[in-house]
Symmetry: C2
Subunit: 260 residues, 2 copies
C-alpha cells in the first residue's frame, strides 16, 4: 500500500518544502518509487526538484480544478527517474476561492490520486504532498487524500504557537473527511546547537509528541538553503553535508517505522 | 496623515511579524503613536507585543466579521503606551472563507479603520498590518486599507520566486480596489554575512527595487528570535543587539523617507 504523507504546518518558513523534497530524494536514492505533489502556489518544491513550472505547464491546478488526470501532469525529476513530480503553477494562487464554490471541494485531490494509484501496476511506495502555509481548501484537500501527516517544526519560539490549532484542524478532518488519517511523523528542522532556544524547542516537542518525533533532527545548514538555487535537493547538491546526512537518516527512520 | 503600512509576503517565515513588531516598537520609542493590527490567525504579533489573544478576546476577527468598532478591540502594549495593538485570535483561521460570502468583503477592514481614524483627535502616526503568508481575503483587506506596502524579503534563494506573483496581485489591487497604494519599502531580513547566497540576494533585490530597498539590512541574530518567548520585541529585550540596532535604523529610514 502506498504511504501518502501530507507535509503541513500553517506556520510559514518551517521547512515543509525542504523536508518534502529531501525526504523524497533520499527515499528514491534508496530505491523507492516516490511521487511529490506540489500544492503550494509558490512552486518551491517544483523548483527544488528541477521541474519547469511556468504558467502553461499542466499542474496540480489542472488536476484539482479542471479534473485533468494526474498522469498527464506528472514530470520525472532530472535527479532520479524514480522521483516523479506534479508541479504547481501560479494559477494555484486562486484555487482556494475557486474550490470554495465547487462540488465535493474537499475530495477532489483524493479522487484524482486514488484513480491514478489504482490504474498503476507499480504504484509509488510514497507520495509526499507539499502544502502552502495555510489551512485553506488546498491543505484540506491534502489532508483528505493522505494516509499520514508529517509535521515539520522549526526550532524557534513561534513554532509551538500554531501546533494546537493544527491538531484541532486534523481532528476535524478525522471526524468528517478522513478517519484513517494519523499524525505519524514530527520532524525537527533548522536546529542550531549553539542556542538554548533550539534545545528548549526540541525538549518541548519531544515531550508533546514522544512517539511521533523522529530521532533525526535536521541542523540549520547553509548548503541546504543553497541547493534550490541549482534546481537540486541537498541530497544531490552536497551528499555528505550535515543537512543531507540528517535527511537521509530521517528518511531511513520513516521507512523503518512504517505507518506507525 | 496616518501612514498605513501592510507588511506582506506570501512566502512563509520571511520576517513579516518580526519586522512589523520591531519597526512599530522602534517608532514608538522615538515618540510616534503606532497601531499594530494582527491579521494573522497565528497571533504571533500579539505574542511578541505581550498582548493576550486567547479565543475570548475581542480581536480583528470581530472587527472584520461582526463589524465591531476597532476601538473596542484595542489593547495597549505593556512595552510602551504609545504602542496600541488589535490582536488576532484563532477564529481568524476561518475568516477567508467567511469573508468570501460577505458584502463588500474586500473593504471591511478599510471601512473599520477609516471610521476609527476619523473619530480620533490624535490619530496614530503609523499603522502596521501584519499579514498571514497568503494572498487570500485577509491580505486583500490589508491591501485595500493600506496606503503603503512594506515587503520583507529574506536573504534566501526562494525569497525571489514569489515576488513577481506578489507584484501582480498588488497591481490588480491598485487597478480595482486601492489606486493610491504604493510599494514604498523593501526590507532585507535574516542576512548572514558569512554566506554568498545572502549577498547575492541583497544585490538582486537592490537591483529590482533600487528606490524602495532600505539601506538598513536586518542580520540573522538569535536575540531576535528569542525575544517573542518573553513577550517582547528585540527592541525591548536586548536594545543593543545587532537586530535591535538595525531595526531602529530601518525605522529611522522609514520615518525620514516619508511616503516615498
Ligand atoms: N536545515 C536548513 N538549514 C538552513 N536553511 C534551511 C533549512 N531548511 C530550510 N531552509 C531554508 O529556510 C527557508 C524556509 O524553508 P522552506 O521554504 O522549506 O519552508 P516552508 O515551510 O516550505 O515555507 P512556506 O511556509 O513558505 O511554504 C528556505 O529558504 C530554505 O532554503
Ligand atoms: N533577524 C532575525 N534573526 C533571527 N531569527 C529571525 C530574524 N527575523 C525573524 N526570525 C525568526 O524567524 C522565524 C520567522 O520569522 P517571522 O515569524 O517573523 O516570519 P513571518 O514572515 O511573519 O512568518 P509567517 O509567514 O509564518 O507569518 C521566527 O521564528 C523568528 O523569530
Ligand atoms: Mg514551502
Ligand atoms: Mg508572521
Amino acid at each position: 500500500r502506498t504511504r501518502i504523507l501530507t507535509v503541513v504546518n500553517q506556520k510559514g518558513g518551517v521547512g515543509k518544502t525542504t523536508s518534502a523534497v529531501n525526504l523524497a530524494a533520499a527515499l528514491a536514492q534508496g530505491g523507492a518509487r516516490v511521487l511529490v505533489l506540489d500544492l503550494d502556489p509558490q512552486g518551491n518544491a517544483s523548483t527544488a526538484l528541477g521541474i519547469d513550472h511556468h504558467a502553461d505547464v499542466i499542474s496540480t491546478y489542472d488536476v484539482l480544478i479542471d479534473g485533468e488526470p494526474l498522469s498527464t501532469a506528472i514530470a520525472i525529476s532530472p535527479q532520479n527517474k524514480l522521483l516523479q513530480v506534479v508541479p504547481s503553477t501560479i494559477h494555484l494562487a486562486g484555487a482556494d476561492l475557486e474550490l470554495a464554490g465547487m462540488e465535493r471541494r474537499e475530495h477532489r485531490l483524493r479522487e484524482a490520486l486514488d484513480a491514478h494509484l489504482s490504474s498503476l501496476d507499480e504504484p509509488p511506495h510514497y507520495v509526499f504532498i507539499d502544502c502552502p502555509p495555510s489551512l485553506g481548501l488546498l491543505t484540506i484537500n491534502a489532508f483528505t487524500a493522505a494516509t499520514e501527516v508529517l509535521l515539520p517544526i522549526q526550532c524557534e519560539y513561534y513554532a509551538l504557537e500554531g501546533v494546537s490549532q493544527l491538531l484541532d484542524t486534523i481532528s476535524r478532518i478525522q471526524a468528517h473527511l478522513n478517519p484513517k488519517l494519523i499524525v505519524s511523523t514530527v520532524l525537527l528542522t533548522m536546529f542550531d546547537g549553539r542556542t538554548l532556544l533550539s534545545r528548549q524547542v526540541v525538549d518541548e516537542v519531544r515531550a508533546h509528541f514522544p512517539d511521533q518525533t523522529l530521532e533525526a533532527v535536521i541542523p540549520r545548514s547553509v548548503r541546504v538553503s543553497e541547493a534550490p538555487g541549482y534546481g537540486q535537493t541537498v541530497i544531490a547538491y552536497d551528499p555528505n553535508s550535515p543537512g543531507a546526512l540528517s535527511y537521509r537518516e530521517a528518511a531511513a527512520e520513516i521507512a523503518r517505522r512504517g505507518t506507525a
